[in-house]
């Protein structure tokens, strides 16, 4: 089993795809031991090939072994689409460990895209800050994954977060039922965007939230007594972390609690990942269902 990579070492790799492939190795090894069965693709049966069938689904291995033409049939093979929604706002550009949350999150997104693509899911991505500013729609065709990587690798325009508007735009974009991964720090007040998340969930989309936060954001073991600047709105305050730590931790915990309540309300599975966690471990934890599962009754 390949050992998990230290995030700082991994994120030192400039090429996003290489990072994603490196994580993939650990991810695959980890998933073998897990009851994971995929999101959308389920093999059902073989059927005899008839002229006119799409040759893409011809089982070439079976043909080689038996010299007969079989077509692999999958359940929901065209219905479920995957969209990775990545937050590129200014708050994601914080990092206390030599890399930012955005670097971490975009590597997660790329790995996820790679993983989904390998298991024949149709994957796309959308980048947002105050609006959805870049979209690669979910498609299945050669080279599509490279487009996804390229989109994820774009430098952010550094705008503030406006999650409500982004979710509403995604809701308009996704006409069909879509598996939507939202990678964000979710630091904005949940009451601002919970309604939009509710609309998205109500449209029968499978929404899953990956909250990416820096360890310092949780503990405030960071910085020094100085003027602190809010990356989102540029506001400044004189902060002495030693003084402010206790109150901060309380308020941050309350925020997370409220966040989980919102996700639970709308049946959104959520996972909180800190950027000091190895990426493959975090993904395994996410994919193997160690998420905060919403109660079944909550799903609309």
């Amino acid at each position: 089993m390949p050992s998990s990579h230290d995030p700082s070492a991994l994120l030192a790799i400039k090429h996003l795809e290489l990072r994603a492939r490196a994580v993939m190795e650990g991810l695959k090894a980890g998933l073998h031991r897990s009851p994971y069965s995929g999101f959308s693709v389920e093999f059902t049966e073989y059927r005899q090939y008839t002229p006119g069938d799409d040759l893409r689904y011809l089982d070439w291995k079976a043909l080689a072994r038996t010299d007969r033409h079989y077509i692999k049939k999958y359940e929901d093979e065209t219905d479920l689409r995957c969209l990775i929604l990545l937050d590129t706002s200014r708050s994601m550009q914080f990092g206390s460990r030599g890399y930012t949350k955005l670097d971490y999150a975009r590597t997660l997104a790329a790995t996820l895209a790679c993983f989904l693509h390998e298991q024949r899911d149709v994957v796309g991505t959308a980048l947002f800050d105050r609006t959805v500013h870049h979209v690669v729609p979910p498609r299945w065709r050669a080279g599509h994954l490279q487009h996804v990587f390229a989109a994820l690798d774009r430098e952010p325009a550094a705008h503030e977060t406006h999650l409500t508007q982004a979710l509403e735009e995604v809701a308009r974009m996704c006409r069909k039922r879509t598996l939507i991964f939202i990678l964000s720090d979710f630091l904005a007040p949940s009451e601002d965007w919970s309604t939009a998340l509710g609309h998205l969930a109500a449209a029968r989309h499978d929404v899953r939230a990956l909250q990416v936060i820096d360890p310092a954001e949780r503990s405030l073991e960071f910085g020094k007594a100085a003027v602190w600047e809010d990356l989102e709105d540029g506001r400044t305050l004189y902060i002495d972390p030693a003084q402010a730590r206790t109150g901060y931790q309380q308020r941050f915990t309350a925020h997370e609690t409220a966040l989980r309540a919102v996700f639970a309300t709308y049946g959104v599975a959520s996972t909180t990942i800190t950027t000091d966690e190895p990426l493959d471990q975090a993904l395994i934890r996410f994919l193997s269902g160690e998420t905060v599962r919403p109660p079944a009754a909550a799903t609309p």
Binding site: T100, L187, G223, D230, L231, E232, Q243, Y248
Partner: protein, 676 residues
């Protein structure tokens, strides 16, 4: 340790820079970016005095850099006890300029002057060099440095006393500028030859009156280390009035009044004085005295009437002035000079085409000498005369004229034909002179003129030396024998002889190859003709008139080189009085005290300062202290220049800057930098 430029320590104020920077930096310059401040409440500022200054080691390094830089600019040096200004150890050269002019004859000034000289010499150290120069109508070295150094230190005072005893004040002017310059040259020469050249001090022992000549000091270059000390004589003297000779009245003939200016000191007050004329030889009063009132510091011009029967040599006495050295003015009336001009030619007096017409016209109005165009009478009294000969002469006249030439007369022969040239040759006492035929050239011009010859000397100045516009039509070529005594004074532009002068006894024969009529040349119509002829006339009677009344120091105006060329008529030689020139044509000469010596008001010190004299004299305690300070500063500068401590300080600063850079880099790397 001492500092050469301590004012640079003001740069220590820059220490505040790094200190403030270290305080400010700590305050709120740093900004910590954070994802959101939503969960943070502002903290109260925390004051911790112990940590107000950030990175004290870095601050100390930076302060040290500023400190060393300020110290380096202040140019420190270490005092050494052995350092004594070299100027104080090297032997000095002291040049005493002793004013020996006529004004020193007043009161006890001369005695005081000698006493001052002795005092100056007494203050010298044994190695110092002394020069004594006297300033009168001429500069003379009374005591040289060699004489001083070659005598034993114990004998030097007596040597100086002997020199001073032999010296008396002169009757001449006070040429202080020439004397100081001479003393400076002697000092410079001594310093150049000396192994250890020291400072030079010029001590001016003088009454320093406004009549002293100091204008020549203006352009003098003063070597470094030269000082001028004034020893102004302060003996009590009486206010003075003086006489200045202005010349004879309008008509210089017999009976013309003598014009005299009486000059009074500022101290004199308004004085009533009397001028009385005396016979210079018998001392008898001549005429009536003239009274006049002279205001203080003012002048008054008097016309002293001279009777027509008064002798030529006179003396004017001034009464009413207590200082007697300049109360007499000796004057001599110049004798009138006449110049007989004998024209020997055929033309009538009124013929404008003849040379005679122009000679007579040109000589009209001359005052000195007074010309008289008369026919030549061989039996008349022999005196210098000018002969103008245009025709060949008979043998008897020729002999008579030659005789006159030998006794000092001048003859001008216009050789327009061969016979006239033969007459000229006969007068010259030579043979072999020949005249050729005129050339076919349209005209000739003067080509070469000897402006050093007395004939053309008046035109030597480039303003007047242009002869190129005077045309001569077909002058007759003259050929002279090789052994001739004649001098070719001018030649035409084709190298043909133009003007020839031949000495004949004491006289001169001038030969001009051609006529002076307007049809022969433009010479007599040119502006040069009259001055040329007048110069010839003056030369005939002994040259330009020389001054008959002169002062000591201006003998050359009378054409006399020195007093030794004069014979006394009255009084002793070397004193003001009546003299007679020696030589062929003796004439009386009156020699007086220089008028400037009568101006005995003290000279303002500013006059000398404005002339750039490095004065030590107006010497007050303040200036002495200043000089000492300057000396100390100079020695300190020399010491600092040798030690050059500042170089080491700069090297130390460079090392400290390297250390500071390394330290600040290390500190900057230690500082946690958040990623955004």
């Amino acid at each position: 340790m001492s500092l050469l430029a301590p004012w640079f320590l003001a740069g220590l104020a820059l220490l505040a820079g790094p200190i403030i920077a270290h305080l400010i930096r700590r305050a709120t310059k740093d900004r910590v970016p954070f994802s959101t401040l939503r969960f943070l409440n502002p903290s109260a500022p925390r004051l911790d005095r112990r940590s107000r200054i950030q990175h004290p080691l870095l601050l100390a390094l930076r302060c040290l850099v500023v400190l060393l830089l300020a110290l380096g600019f202040a140019r420190p040096y270490l005092r050494e006890t052995s350092i004594v200004p070299p100027a104080t150890t090297a032997p000095r050269t002291v040049a005493i300029v002793l004013d020996a002019s006529a004004s020193l004859r007043r009161g006890d000034l001369w005695e005081e002057a000698r006493e001052r000289v002795r005092d100056v010499a007494a203050d010298l150290s044994p190695n110092d060099r002394l020069i004594v120069v006297s300033a009168a109508d001429r500069v003379s070295t009374l005591l040289s440095a060699e004489q001083w150094l070659n005598s034993l230190p114990g004998d030097r005072a007596s040597l100086l006393a002997a020199v001073l005893d032999q010296t008396e004040p002169s009757w001449g002017p006070s040429l202080l500028d020439a004397a100081i310059e001479s003393a400076l040259d002697l000092s410079r020469e001594i310093n150049e030859n000396a192994e250890a050249p020291g400072d030079t001090e010029i001590v001016l022992v003088s009454d320093l009156t406004v009549g002293s000549r100091v204008a020549g000091l203006a352009g003098l270059t003063w070597p470094i280390g030269t000082l001028v000390r004034l020893e102004t004589l302060a003996s009590a003297t009486e206010p003075n009035l003086g006489l200045q000779w202005l010349g004879w009245g309008a008509d210089q003939g017999q009976g013309a009044p003598a014009r005299v200016r009486v000059v009074a000191d500022q101290r004199a007050g308004t004085r009533a004085v009397t001028l009385q004329l005396h016979d210079a030889t018998t001392d008898a009063a001549v005429g009536e005295p003239v009274s006049l009132v002279v205001p203080a510091g003012g002048t008054q011009v008097a016309l002293v009437p001279v009777p027509t029967n008064a002798p030529a040599a006179l003396r004017i006495d001034l009464s009413g002035n207590d200082e007697t050295f300049d109360n007499q003015l000796w004057i001599v009336r110049d004798a009138a000079r006449t110049l007989p001009v004998h024209y020997l030619g055929p033309a009538e007096a009124g013929d404008a085409q003849s040379s005679r017409f122009y000679v007579e016209a040109a000589t009209m109005g001359w005052r000195d000498p007074e010309p008289a165009v008369t026919p030549f009478d061989p039996a008349a009294e022999v005196q210098p005369a000018l002969f103008v000969i245009t025709d060949p002469l008979a043998a008897d006249r020729l002999a008579a004229i030659r005789s006159r030439l030998e006794s000092g007369s001048f003859a001008l022969v216009l050789a327009h034909n061969g016979n006239t040239l033969a007459t000229a040759a006969a007068l010259a006492g030579e043979s072999g002179w020949s005249a050729g035929s005129p050339t076919s050239r349209a005209y000739s011009l003067f080509g070469r003129v000897d402006f050093e010859h007395p004939l053309f000397a008046p035109f030597a100045d480039p303003h007047y030396s242009d002869f190129s516009r005077i045309r001569f039509w077909q002058p007759r070529p003259i050929t002279l024998p090789t052994d001739t005594a004649a001098t070719v004074v001018a030649r035409f532009d084709n190298d043909q002889v133009a003007v020839v002068e031949v000495p004949v006894g004491q006289g001169r024969l001038i030969v001009w190859p051609g006529d002076w009529s307007p049809s022969a040349s433009q010479w007599i119509l040119s502006t040069k003709f009259v001055p040329w002829l007048q110069a010839l006339g003056e030369r005939t009677v002994g040259g330009a008139r020389q001054a008959g009344v002169v002062e000591f120091g201006t003998l050359t105006r009378a054409g006399v080189e020195s007093l030794t060329a004069l014979e006394t008529v009255t009084g002793d030689s070397g004193e003001p009085g009546l003299y007679r020139t020696t030589g062929d044509r003796p004439r009386p000469l009156a020699l007086n005290v220089p008028a400037a010596e009568s101006l005995t008001d003290p000279m303002p010190l500013e006059t000398l300062e404005n002339l750039g004299l490095p004065l030590e004299a107006a010497v007050s305690a303040a200036t002495t202290e200043l000089a000492e300070r300057r000396l100390a500063a100079e020695s300190a500068a020399a010491l600092e220049g040798r030690q050059q401590v500042w170089r080491w300080l700069l090297l130390l600063v460079a090392l400290l800057l390297v250390a500071e850079s390394i330290l600040s880099l290390t500190l900057a790397r230690r500082q946690p930098v958040p990623t955004t």
